[in-house]
Amino acid sequence: MNDEVYTEILLDHYRSPRNYGSVENPSAQITEHNPLCGDTVHFSLKVEGGKIVDIKFVGQGCSISQGAASILTELVKGKSVAEVQAITDADFLKILGIRLGPNREKCALLSLNALKKAISTKNV
């Protein structure tokens, strides 16, 4: 598809998702839906010493939501919980390298929001 809309990297992640699946005995897991379109992502992750040591996702949805989830897993692996919480929407959109309208943006930000929610729970 067109570079204006989707970068090759994003499409590559969509076609060959990284870290696809589930972490065993996760410290946290979460399923989030984009109510606007039904895109879904599920993250399972292991936190040790305040750091994300392992993370996997499964999901269903458009190339942006799923590609972004895959990119996110690579981005945060090894990062501290605090570092992940500090990633802003704008940061993540920049990393994805795409410019989107307000509706489609929700697809791109679904996974970041889900992950932040997952690691903000008491137990991690």
């Binding site: 598809m1 696809y20 379109c37 599920h42 949805g61 458009c62 190339s63």
Partner: protein, 423 residues
């Protein structure tokens, strides 16, 4: 008279400003002809004022326009009198008015019968009643995407106080025989409500021929502004109902101890009304009448027939809806490949869960690059998506300004999209 989309298109400024725009999302909302836009601007520029209470000229004139629009709507759908027409914001508000006011009389164990193919707006307002122990039932959809009338009849029982059903599904295009359904309701002393959001804009609708108790639709889906919608209700029923919103204009007398209410329909129109919306709706009805609702219907049917003819050129295309254009409105939902709902357990079992189908969002984004506007998603009918075994679909919904050439361009783009996504 048959519809001439090319000529009609000239009446819509958005197409002069975006000559390449192929707008195929008319089930969501329609474009506005100059006559409607002008009716609204002219209202502002000449008689804009508060209706019903001013004794000065522009207020009397605005009142005449507002009530004239009510009369026009009442004739357009064959109501007995203008008093049966309540102006509201949209179909959603109309159904909520009914669920709140009729809901007051329901008791634990009473039943509301819906169908499996309803829009969220004809689901969620009824779901609210569950808190009071009201039971919601759903008449089934058959494998051919039509309603199971036997199941509807079976589920109508002595506890069924209300039944509410769509005339045309906004996902499947399925046209339900609402006359037959209303008939079943009447024989069971069940209040019948027709969601006509997808029928009144697209075909001739006559509430007396249908024989329903209530019927609702939205202006913005029929060339009129947003913010104006209609609830038709049988006068005797409206008379007996509790008001919905309280406030100015809907009262008889008020003191510190209580209030009496105005006559129908004003009892249901609290606060300052969207007069310009009603004025715009009136102009939209004039426009549609000048074409003729039967012609509108015929045109949409021919659009669907055209789609049926070429859709098989697209590999892996799955369409959702009855294959008889005579039983189907101008709505075409489809997917390329399987767009399954999310299922955590199955999803986890494979590394290749993301199949080579094209997600409707990606499809719509691709089409957008070709200036083709189609809808993708659950179309505010999530439960139906579940029944169809998909998470979402793409949807094309032509109207009077669309023609076969545009549909051809749409299918060309679809075919290109498949090629690009497959590389």
């Amino acid at each position: 008279m048959s519809v001439n989309p090319e000529r009609l298109k000239k009446d819509f400024p958005i197409f002069s400003n975006n000559p390449d725009l192929i707008y195929l999302d008319n089930a969501a909302t329609t474009q506005k002809p100059s006559s409607v836009i002008r009716a609204v601007s002219d209202y502002y520029a000449t008689i804009n004022s508060n209706v019903h209470r001013g004794v000065y000229k522009i207020s009397e004139e605005a009142t005449e326009m507002y009530e004239g629009s009510r009369k026009k709507v009442s004739e357009f759908i064959g109501a007995r009198e203008p008093a049966e027409i309540v102006f509201l914001r949209n179909t959603t508000e109309a159904i909520n008015l009914l669920s709140y006011t009729l809901g007051r009389k329901l008791k634990k164990g009473d039943e509301v019968l819906l169908t499996e193919m309803e829009h969220h707006s004809n689901l969620v307002p009824w779901y609210f009643l569950r808190e009071a122990g009201i039971v919601i039932k759903f008449a089934k959809m058959k494998a051919d995407f039509t309603l199971d009338y036997e199941d509807f009849q079976d589920k109508l029982n002595t506890r069924t106080v209300i039944a509410s059903f769509t005339e045309v599904s906004n996902v499947l295009g399925t046209i339900n025989d609402v006359r037959e359904l209303s008939n079943m309701c009447r024989e069971n002393s069940t209040i019948s409500i027709v969601d006509a959001a997808q029928s009144v804009p697209h075909m001739s609708v006559d509430v007396r021929a249908i024989g329903c108790d209530f019927l609702a639709f939205s202006g913005h889906k029929m060339l009129a502004p947003a913010g104006i919608g209609v609830l038709y209700g049988r006068k005797d029923l409206l008379d007996r109902m509790h008001p919905f919103l309280g406030g100015g204009e809907m009262i008889g007398e008020v003191d510190y101890n209580g209030a009496t209410y105005a006559d129908v329909p004003w009892k249901f129109e609290a606060g300052t009304q969207n007069v310009e919306g009603a004025v715009g709706l009136s102009a939209a009805i004039d426009y549609l009448k000048s074409i003729g609702m039967d012609s509108v219907r015929e045109h949409e049917r021919s659009m669907i027939d055209h789609i049926f003819k070429i859709m098989d050129t697209i590999g892996d295309l799955r369409q959702f809806g009855p294959m008889d254009s005579g039983k189907r409105g101008g709505v075409f939902s489809f997917n390329i490949g399987d767009v399954k709902p999310f299922d955590l357990l199955n999803q986890s079992n494979t590394k290749f869960a993301i199949s080579h189908s094209i997600h409707p969002h990606d499809l719509a984004a691709f089409l957008d690059r070709n200036n083709i506007a189609v809808r993708s998603g659950h179309h505010c009918a999530m439960p139906l998506m579940g029944r169809m075994g998909v998470s979402s679909t793409a949807r094309v919904s032509p109207y009077i300004y669309n023609d076969e050439r545009e549909l051809d361009l749409f299918f060309d783009a679809l075919s290109n999209c498949r090629k690009e996504m497959a590389r």
